[in-house]
Each structure stands twice: as C-alpha cells, then as structure tokens.
Symmetry: C2
C-alpha cells in the first residue's frame, strides 16, 4: 500500500535547484496567491486577464489556469462568462471561517496530541523555534517582504501543530481555511497587532501540546484565534469594492 500524497498547491516559494522547472501556471498561481493574501489585490477586485497578463508578464493561458486553480480554494471567484474576481469578504464569512477553523483545528490538535508521535513533537518544536527567533517585521517596519517570511513561519508553526493528526483531508481543509483567514487579518493589520504578546501565546500552545495536555493546548489555541477574531471584528469594514 502506497501512501498517496494528495496534491498540494500551497507552494511556499521553495525553489529547488535539482528538480523540476516550474511551469508558468505554477508561477502565476504562486504570484496570484501571494498578491491576494497580502492584500495587493483587494477583495472583490475584478481580475482582468490582460491586466494580469501585463502585471506578471505571462500569457493568458497560464493566468486563466492559475485563476481556475485558486477558485476552489475560495480565494478567487469565477463568474461564468464574466471572468474572475478576487473573492469578496464579509463579516458573515469571517465568522464562519473563524468558527469552523476553531472547531476543525481543535479536532486536529487533539488527534495529533493523542497520536503523540515524537517526530511530530520535533517538528512542532522546530517550527516554534524558527518562528520565535524571527521578528515579525510588521506595521512599524512596513516591509512586506520581511513580514512575509514571518507569515510563512507562522503558518508552518500552526500547520505543524495539527500535522500529526493522521488525516490528510483534515490538514488540507485547515490549510485552506488558514489562507482564507489571512486576508481578514490583513484588513485591519495596524489596529490589532501591537496590543498582544503573540509570541507568548504561541509558546503556551506549543508547551501544552508537547506536554500532552490536550485541553490546555486546545484552550490556548482557541483563545489565540478568538482573540484575534475579536479584534478584527471590531475593525472590520465591508469593502465590497467592484
């Protein structure tokens, strides 16, 4: 029996020298994802092919294919015969994402802890360590590129936490929801950030998880999410731009 690895589109900008040249479609997909998640392409914005063609210096085919790939991830909307646009945001969807995410990640985290795999523990610790020693480079720095490295490590940490649950499907769903959630965080970045000690929260989650204290780990994780959620909810504005 071979463990079939399901397709993972979430390439975190890893350029491997030895194997495989990236197709233009893959490039376009990564670039578009990046720009949507970072907010460079705002919610609801119409994605005209020619415009994107010029922006990324690519042909129309790879662009279209990349947009198609992103639609099922909920980042792009496909209006039949009317082109593509960045998926719009709404308070309703945000609450749905938050709720579903908390619930799914709780399950995944509990399963991971229950499995108690030592390799999993190692990955969690390592991911935490990398994250903790990387400055966020957030609003005060203003540099998106520095911040994007932090973003990657942050995601890696959270994915490592749930990575031992044994369900590829659950992991993939959480991955999708993580990405969809990021956009909402970007919407009110300056407001919510400085007030909390996020690193301490991460540490609490990590330690409880490694200790095998599922209840504490889950509580810390949920608090981590809902707290962010609360901030965002306050400073959310429905920018349904056409």
């Amino acid at each position: 029996m071979d463990a079939v690895d399901t397709n993972v589109l979430n390439t975190s900008a890893l350029a491997e020298p030895g194997r495989g040249p990236e197709s233009r479609t893959t490039q376009a997909c990564a670039a578009l994802r990046q720009d949507i998640l970072s907010g460079a392409l705002g919610a609801g914005v119409k994605l005209k092919i020619d415009q994107l063609r010029e922006r990324y210096d690519l042909g129309a085919s790879p662009i279209r294919e990349a947009l198609s790939l992103l639609t099922s991830d909920g980042l792009v909307e496909r209006l039949d015969q009317r082109g593509f646009r960045v998926a719009p945001v709404s308070g309703l969807e945000f609450r749905d994402i938050l709720k579903t995410r908390c619930w799914m990640e709780e399950r995944a985290l509990r399963d991971s802890i229950a499995a108690g795999d030592s390799a999993w523990q190692d990955r969690v610790v390592l991911a935490y360590y990398r994250l903790s020693r990387t400055p966020r480079g957030g609003p005060e720095a203003g540099d998106l590129s520095g911040s994007s490295e932090w973003e990657a490590l942050h995601k890696a940490f959270h994915m490592a936490l749930i990575g031992g649950c044994g369900s590829d499907i659950l992991i993939r769903f959480c991955d999708q929801l993580y990405d969809r959630n990021i956009r909402y965080r970007q919407l009110s970045r300056p407001a919510a950030l400085p007030k909390r000690d996020i690193e301490a929260e991460h540490k609490a989650i990590m330690e409880a998880a490694i200790d095998g204290d599922a209840d504490a780990a889950v509580a810390a994780l949920i608090a981590h999410y809902t707290r962010t959620g609360g901030y965002l909810e306050g400073s959310m504005l429905d920018t349904a731009g056409t």
Copy 2:
C-alpha cells in the same frame, strides 16, 4: 446559430438556473466530473489532453481549465509539467474520507437540527420523498442513466440534511467529501448493494431529524455510512495507477 446547449445537471456548488448559456469550460467540467464519479474514467488513469479533446469534442483550453477546476476538489491530480490524471484511490484515503465525513456531517446535522428551521425541515422531507419514490435502477437494471438520477436525488437528500447548519464552508466541505466518496462506492457496486434496505435507513434518519432527536439522527446517519464503509472495505482492491 447551431447553439446546441446540452443542459447538464450541475452537481457543483453554485449554479443559477435560467441564466445564460454555459461556457465550454463549465460543460467540460460537468462532463469530466460525471465521468470520473461514474467510474468511466478509472482511478489513476492518465488524462491526455488530445484524448479528452476528441472525447468531448472541445478545444484544449476548456479541457485544461476544467481539469484545473477539478484539481482542488480532489478528483483530479495535477503533475506539474506532466499533465493530469484521475486522482488515485487507496484504502488509506477511503478510511480518511469515511472518518472525516462522519465527523463533519455529525456536526452539521446536529447544528441543522438545533437551528430547527422549518424551511429546512420542508427541504429535508421533500428531498426524502423524491428519493423514496425513485427506483435505484442499480446493478440489476444496469442502466447508468436511470441510476444517475437516483444518485442526484440521493446526494440532494444528504445535502438537505446538513443544509441547515448555517455554515457554507462546512456544507462545501461535506459536498466535496460526498463526491470523493462516491468513487469508492462505484468500485464495489455489485457486492454491497443488495444486502440492505437503504430506503429504510434513509427514512430513519429523516424521521429522527424532523423529530429533533439529534442523537438518534446522528446515530442513524453514522450507521448508514459506516455500514456502507464496511462493505466497501471488504471488497476494496487497491488499484494504484503508478
């Protein structure tokens, strides 16, 4: 002038009836989904563009785009620079689907019952009624087209059950998993079917749900799924492509 629009029943998430003509991409997507779910395109089979181009009498672009759309639903796998193939099956994945699906649908069903929306109840009753009076037309009939109508109604019934949960995200995930699961059912169709009274199981689920008895409804639903799962597990053969 010769716009022959083959109106295909779109099992996908959002489809507005009465609206303009379908794009070729949408047609291709529906046709491919149908053929993959029905098993006409077996698991792991390589999906060569030219081959599909001839099969559906379409250009390469719509085909590629349709395949890209199906990728994120887990029905098609995209090997960078090496084309597409039907997602392979495995016992591991089957168990993952079954487990995750039971767990997610339990949640969705409980939420739907808790919400207690009367419009939701109506939809459930209606869906059940339609399903119950439609013959399965399964292995003995051998007619796939008749059976595909039953398939559509069966899915509609199960989606109606969880449709009142209030979470679009959860509904979509369940939808995806339902489709992914169908393929496994097709793999061992003759063996598992005749032994049970599936209609009675549906009735039990429906009645408990309408009565507001969440525990009973969930128990019946889970039994419904795991029973099928057990049969399949027995007659499963790992036809791994590579």
